[in-house]
Structure formats: structure tokens, C-alpha cells
């Protein structure tokens, strides 16, 4: 069940807000303090990538971030509305631009962002469909215990 959902227009200045919200919700969910930096960085990378994709494809819809507290894990989904981005099942974009060489710079940055995410997060899935791309990441949570 979703704990917090955030939708923001694809502007770089809002990525920081997404990072702060994600870190705050992760802390409440019981994600270890030592891991919060990773959560902050990973969600920032995923959001920056989504913002870049929306802007390069002229998409005005907002980027969506879903923060979910599960039984023993905390998960974050960052959803974009660009259908082709994924590596697998590259479906044609209805009315969109084709992923050609002209995007190579932007794609280079995407790849760096994804490299950082996969280096940071053990449990990460990147998928894409006709509705857009999703990066799903999750971290284990520990129940909050008081010091003796």
C-alpha cells in the first residue's frame, strides 16, 4: 500500500524536493540511517533521469514518485511517461520521437544515472511499457527499537 505519492512537473529544481521527501519517508519507514544517503542519491538519479526524458521528449505530464512502506521493506517507484527508454521490449512510441543518435548525449547521462543506481541499490528493476518507464528500488527496513 502506498504511503506517500508525489507528482511533480519535469523541472530540475523539483528533484531536490523529491530527494528530501523520499529520505524523510524512508527514515520514518525504518530504513537504516546509514542507508539514507543511498536512498537520497538513488531517488535523485531516478528523478533526474525521468525529468531529462520528459524534457527531451516534450512531455508535459508530471513525473510520479511512489514511496511504499511494506512489511519488511521500503520501496520507491519512479515513473516516467516515455515509452521507449527501457532496454527490453523497445516498443514504438506513438507520436513520439524515435531513439536515434541525436539523443546520444542525453542517453549518456541516463546511463551514468543508471550506473549509479545499480551500484548503490541491490534490489532494483528497470522496466518500460507503452505507458512509460518505471525504476523500482527497495531497501530492507528494521523495526524501530529503543536503546536499552
Amino acid at each position: 500500500m502506498a504511503t506517500v505519492e508525489l507528482r511533480f512537473s519535469a523541472q530540475p529544481e523539483h528533484v531536490r524536493t523529491a530527494r528530501l521527501v523520499a529520505a524523510a519517508v524512508a527514515r520514518r519507514a525504518g530504513v537504516d540511517e546509514a542507508v539514507l544517503d543511498e536512498v537520497r542519491l538513488a531517488v535523485g538519479e531516478a528523478c533526474s533521469r525521468a525529468v531529462g526524458l520528459h524534457r527531451s521528449h516534450g512531455i508535459t505530464d508530471p513525473v510520479e514518485v511512489v514511496l511504499s512502506e511494506e512489511e519488511k521493506a521500503f520501496s520507491i517507484e519512479v515513473r516516467d511517461e516515455v515509452p521507449v527508454a527501457g532496454a527490453e521490449g523497445s516498443t514504438p512510441v506513438p507520436g513520439g520521437r524515435n531513439g536515434t543518435d541525436e539523443d546520444s548525449d542525453a542517453e549518456g547521462e541516463d546511463e551514468m544515472g543508471l550506473a549509479v543506481i545499480s551500484g548503490l541499490v541491490d534490489d532494483v528493476e528497470v522496466s518500460s511499457s507503452e505507458e512509460g518507464g518505471v525504476i523500482r528500488m527497495s531497501w530492507p527496513t528494521t523495526p524501530v527499537t529503543l536503546l536499552p
Binding site: P12, E13, V15, R16, R19, D37, R40, L41, G44, E45, S48, V51, G52, G108, E109, M112, G113, A115, V116, G119, L120
Partner: protein, 117 residues
């Protein structure tokens, strides 16, 4: 927190070095400011840069991209770009992307300024 930038020139054994002191967060929003600063320095003929990252609270791949771009520019003039960083959480990002092999990373500005190739 926003990005803060200040530059100063320091003389080292290998010649003049330009120290760029960066503070705050380098992300998709603020990285263009750092890019502009590095481009301007190189255009003005400063080819040996030391980027002091001790005041940086956050760095993401966009920031890494800007630093790599800076390195490319100074190298085109046979220059150098050295980093000063002791913060584990920032160093980790350089490690997981393999960029520790690309950038010389120093523990103090003095050490970076004194370094020669």
C-alpha cells in the same frame, strides 16, 4: 541548499593553479552553474584546476558529468583537473562509477596544488 562557488589563484611548484571551492548540492538543477564556471575558467586560459569538494553536501551523476566535461576541456589544453575530497559519501560515488581512476583525488588543497604530473 543551493550551490556556492568561489575561485582563487594559487602558485604551486608546477605553476599557477586555479582553486574552485564548491559548496552545497551539485545536482541536475545546480550542475549547469558549475559547468558554466569551469567553461569560463578554461576559456580565460586557466588550464590547471583544483576543485575543492569539501563543502559539497550532495553530488549526483549530473555533477560527475560536469566534472568529466571539465577534465576533457583542460586536457585539450594539456591541463589538469584535480579534486579535493575526504567525504566518504562523495568518494563512494566516484568509486562505484570507476571515476577514481580518472580523477586524481587529494586530501588537501595544498597537496593538490603541489602535485605535478
Amino acid at each position: 541548499m543551493d550551490l556556492s562557488l568561489s575561485t582563487r589563484n594559487v602558485s604551486g611548484p608546477g605553476g599557477d593553479r586555479t582553486v574552485v571551492e564548491v559548496g552545497g548540492e551539485i545536482d541536475v538543477y545546480t550542475a549547469p552553474k558549475l559547468r558554466e564556471q569551469l567553461v569560463e575558467l578554461v576559456n580565460d586560459g586557466n588550464y590547471h584546476l583544483v576543485v575543492d569538494m569539501e563543502g559539497v553536501d550532495f553530488l549526483d551523476s549530473t555533477g560527475l558529468g560536469v566534472l568529466v566535461g571539465g577534465l576533457k576541456r583542460v586536457r585539450a589544453h594539456e591541463g589538469s583537473l584535480r579534486l579535493v575530497c575526504n567525504q566518504e559519501r562523495i568518494l563512494k560515488i566516484f568509486r562505484i562509477t570507476g571515476l577514481t581512476k580518472v580523477f586524481p583525488i587529494h586530501t588537501t588543497v595544498e597537496e593538490a596544488v603541489a602535485a605535478t604530473d
